[in-house]
């Protein structure tokens, strides 16, 4: 088990700054997920750790070693690519043993380690097949198997499930979680899918424009987002952002802090009430029935749309007026710079 430490990491492609000073500490055996919108630099950061890209500035430590100038193969990392990158002209067995072969590991030892990894991932019946003869999920498992065989200190996953269908993704997600539990190896995982991030991670790193917006456990990020970006990025449907002045309408007696400009309330934390005076009122403009819950689009008097997850009682009619309320503990306040105001007045 190995820790990873990033100190002031920067990456520039010519004059374009892609990673702008990232500081991050990843503990031994931790499962860390980099998440963020397209182009935020999460894959680049992973490639910097792997050594496939050179670091422009800063210091990267894997274990006790500074590895800025260390070859990718000497860093003790293994990577599972989004495309799987299985060599099409080699069988599963040859793919998995490739790294050992180029490192001149004796054939017998190679065979033993490939068989061991194959047993872990239930790949034994597939060892003599070519990648083209495998399904998406099987290819994914072979890619993971190839990474395991090298016995790395750190696993790197670059959006490994994005090519799979929804059902298989859920299945593979649980396999990766089980693998982490079994191996207890440090894993760094890149995804743009927040459900993947929430379900797999010990620690989530939210990135935007090459900077870290927040680091924390899934619960921390959900319950205590440090700014509007994180608040809206984590959670689905995304958090509603309303004027801070609406606070007393949502929750009687609640006063917004003086510096607050906006408030955030998640759709699942809003309750539909009678549209009486003193509550936040709006008109239902759309109802999206999804089975367990109904997503209401509520048009507020200031022409904003507020999303509400309605899961019990009668679904309000489209065009009807409703009132909305929330518990004070679920309301987040943000200042003029969109930063969370931590000292909540409740």
């Amino acid at each position: 088990m190995t820790s990873v430490l990033l100190k002031g990491i920067e990456k520039r492609f010519g004059s374009v700054e892609v990673i702008r000073g990232v500081d991050l500490s990843i503990d031994e055996g931790e499962f860390v997920v980099f998440v963020g919108p397209s182009g935020c630099g999460k894959s680049t950061l992973l490639r910097l750790i792997s050594g496939l890209e050179h670091i422009s500035d800063g210091e990267l430590k894997i274990g006790d070693r500074v590895v800025n100038e260390v070859q990718p193969s000497q860093r003790g990392v293994a990577m599972v690519f989004q495309s799987y990158a299985l060599y099409p002209h080699l069988t599963v067995k040859e793919n998995m043993g490739f790294g050992l072969k180029v490192r001149k590991v004796p054939a017998q030892e190679r065979q033993r380690r490939v068989n061991e990894a194959a047993a872990t991932l239930k790949l034994e019946p597939l060892l003599d097949r070519y990648p083209r003869e495998l399904s998406g999920g099987q290819r994914q498992r072979v890619a993971i198997g190839r990474a395991i065989v090298g016995n790395p200190d750190v696993f790197l996953f670059d959006e490994p499930l994005s090519n799979l269908d929804a059902e298989l993704r859920v299945h593979m997600r649980s396999e990766i979680a089980a693998l982490h539990k079994r191996l207890s190896t440090t894993m760094i995982y890149v995804t743009h899918d927040q459900i993947e991030a929430m379900t797999l991670a010990d620690k989530i790193v939210v990135l935007r424009d090459g900077r870290i917006e927040q680091v924390g456990s899934p619960r921390e990020l959900y319950e205590r987002p440090s700014n509007v970006f994180v608040a809206q990025f984590i959670g689905s449907p995304k958090m509603n952002i309303l004027p801070a002045a609406d606070a007393p309408l949502l929750c009687a007696g609640l006063a917004a802090p003086q510096s607050a400009e906006t408030l955030g309330i998640r759709p699942e934390h809003l309750t539909v009430v009678e549209p009486r005076d003193g509550v936040l009122r709006g008109t239902v403009s759309l109802c999206e029935y999804t089975g367990a819950v109904t997503l209401l689009h509520v048009l507020l008097p200031d022409n904003r749309i507020c999303l509400v997850l309605h899961d019990e009682g009668e679904v309000p009619a489209v065009g009807g007026e409703i009132g909305l309320s929330a518990e004070a503990s679920n309301i987040h306040f943000f200042d003029g710079q969109a930063q969370a105001i931590r000292a909540l007045p409740h």
Partner: protein, 307 residues
């Protein structure tokens, strides 16, 4: 139920043709220019050559006499010139194909990744491909002259006395091969660049992470993945080398001492210098057979590779 669909046209009358038949007619209409061109300019002449190969026809007499397989017997069993010419063609191919492919692959490996000036270098190496073959041969003919030729002048600077390249039997074949390689290498370079760029970068990166050296990445990943492209390039280059004419015509005229007399040029000589059209047609059919066999080998190898 019948599967014929009666289509009501704008005028209200019904078409008696089924939809499938109408679509077939339209399809034939669209491909007809190509099909007609193919029949007139390819299939027709091919059949004519096949027929003439069975005749004795001197262009000056305007009379073709059917002689059966006599011309084939003559070429394959009696005429020693034929096998000398085939030998020359094989030597030309064996010299040109490996040299061309090795150089093309080396250039492609150097020029497949983007760097400043890459387009310039690609253009430089591809430009001879689109240059007139005759102009190219004339320029090289001057450069390879024994006395006063540019190549020998350069060699003289380092104290080497160069031969009369195109007049000495030992050197003429080497000279035509090398100048032909330089002219055509750009085409194979482009094919190899396309093949290299089609190999996902992830393979190389995965191999790098697993500890493979550049040499190992090339031998264990890149080269096997280039196999389909290599096969195609090898066969089209071999076929091209058997068909070479203009280059030989301009640079050596088949000489010296028939040392560069290759099949395509020999056919030209027989047909248009000695007017033996029947015999020239026979030679053309034999060359066609050789090229056809090479093409079939390519198809078979590609199929095997895909299994």
């Amino acid at each position: 139920m019948t599967d014929s669909i009666h289509i009501t046209r704008r005028g209200g009358q019904k078409s008696r043709l089924t939809l499938k038949a109408r679509e077939m007619m339209e399809a034939w209409l669209f491909v007809s220019p190509t099909v007609i061109g193919f029949i007139i300019f390819f299939l027709g002449p091919l059949l004519a050559v096949a027929y003439y190969s069975l005749t004795e026809w001197n262009l000056l007499t305007q009379q073709a006499t059917f002689v059966g397989l006599a011309n084939f017997e003559n070429a394959l069993l009696e005429n020693p010139d034929f096998w000398h010419v085939v030998r020359n063609s094989v030597i030309f191919a064996l010299g040109l194909v490996p040299l061309n492919m090795a150089l093309a692959l080396t250039l492609a490996l150097a020029l497949s990744r983007p760097f400043r000036g890459v387009v310039f270098f690609r253009t430089v190496f591809f430009a001879p491909v689109v240059t007139s073959a005759i102009a190219w041969a004339i320029v090289w003919k001057f450069m390879l002259q024994g006395e006063g030729g540019f190549i020998n002048q350069v060699l003289a600077l380092v104290g080497i006395s160069g031969p009369n390249w195109l007049r000495e039997p030992n050197w003429a074949m080497a000279a035509v091969i090398i100048t032909r390689v330089i002219k055509m290498v750009g085409l194979n370079m482009i094919l190899y660049i396309a093949a290299l760029q089609a190999i996902p970068r992830d393979y190389e990166e995965a191999a790098r992470l697993e500890g493979a050296s550049r040499r190992q990445i090339f031998s264990m990943i890149t080269w096997p993945l280039l196999a389909p492209a290599t096969l195609v390039i090898m066969v089209i280059t071999t076929i091209g080398s058997f068909k070479v004419f203009d280059h030989i015509y301009q640079m050596t005229g088949g000489g010296p001492e028939n040392g560069t007399l290759v099949l395509a040029f020999y056919i030209y000589q027989q047909g248009f210098k000695f007017f033996n059209v029947g015999y020239a047609s026979t030679l053309a059919m034999i060359m066609f057979a050789i090229v056809m066999v090479l093409t079939l080998v390519q198809v078979a190898l590609r199929r095997k590779g895909m299994e």
